[in-house]
Symmetry: C2
Amino acid sequence: MTDARQPPSASARRRPEAPSPPATAPAADTAAKAPTASRLLKEQGILTEAENHFAQFGFEGASLENIAAAIGISRHNLLYYFPNKEALYQRVLDDVLTQWLAGMEDLSHSDDPQQALRRYIRAKLRYSRERPNGAKVFTKEVIAGAPRYGKAIAARVGPLLKAEVRTFERWAREGRIARVNFTHLMFIIWSVTQAYAEQEAQFALLLGKPALTERDYGKAEELICRMVIKALEPDAALDNPPRAD
Amino acid sequence: MTDARQPPSASARRRPEAPSPPATAPAADTAAKAPTASRLLKEQGILTEAENHFAQFGFEGASLENIAAAIGISRHNLLYYFPNKEALYQRVLDDVLTQWLAGMEDLSHSDDPQQALRRYIRAKLRYSRERPNGAKVFTKEVIAGAPRYGKAIAARVGPLLKAEVRTFERWAREGRIARVNFTHLMFIIWSVTQAYAEQEAQFALLLGKPALTERDYGKAEELICRMVIKALEPDAALDNPPRAD
DNA sequence: GTCTATAATGGGATAGAC
DNA sequence: GTCTATCCCATTATAGAC
């Protein structure tokens, strides 16, 4: 953890504005809130830092003061870009969820169960590795009972999960996979893949390493895929009990 | 406490001889100062409430004021029983870890891989159901990078995990289970079983229920066991198990 | 053991400077 | 449009009085 936290110096931080305004189409949208590339850039910087702090301290524990200080701006400057703490938090979670749901849609559109699952697990693990703090913020929110983001989870994840389960059930009817409880299967896949983001510190600690390597993630992927795919291997012709959901 | 951190030297560990059990750390303070029964009772009440609050708000977010108020005492009365927030937090985590490690020791002492794993998964899921807040506090600590409890994890979990992996490797040598990465297998079992504590809110939300029922936990247990046991079925025809080393 | 005072922190609103 | 300064109020850790 780079803790090169520096006190917010009172020195004036004059950043020259973008010297050349986009002369191409300035009049396209007259007074419509121009996205202003520099603003988007700064927002992104705030969001990244906020993700780090929310991941480490949770919603209550994180402070706007520290988030702002970590990127060298004042708290009031931060509040200019996001109206309040809650809005900043919601944006962080929105972005994480958007990334995850993209991977889930891919899963539904495939037509080869094994390959689709392998791809999904691989993608989810890659997110965990590349953007662990997003997963951490999400899990902390869920642990607390999803008091601030529960509605968004129900609204955005619920429908996709149902579609996913329907896809699995179709595959099961076609005899391509065994009929297990597919909802719980998704819960389990989520849990495991996210654990490699959230608990990286613990896993690395127990492996005696400073951090997990690409090889470690490869081993995890191999084992997770093995577990999922073996569990979904059709039970041959032993018996095919139509299991109640 | 005891900084028994040892690098996982694969070289210095040649003999599979049964190692002397690495003296699990005695649970916190012993009977050094004869605590009265009423004091123990009050301590337990504080610990239970602290577990709830730390689970919901994290270390930074929880306040001694609220914990004390929830059980009808003053903050200063609480501070009489626990010197500060940090000590209270450590005690909560000590108690959780003690419970988990007991289940792990049982796993090592069994002689039937399948039965042992089923029992372990069932026990871990039962903990998740009966005492979800302990798991939540633990996971939140790990998510934050284990800044306050990392040493205890390394000292208490590490040795047991190694013993566990050695047991699995013996079973694999005997051809009773397939040879997978057993360390990651344990990581995965932990992640999944704990997820049913930490993420109960999310799972229930997505199932459209106010809370998970015993049936839900039963379904989870069935699927988790299936995944683990199928993944450990010896590959038989593919490559013959290495009978002797 | 309980109650109260103080200092520090943090979120938020408003006004105003570049 | 972007950023800073001042004020306000709630919360809380800590210390000390009773």
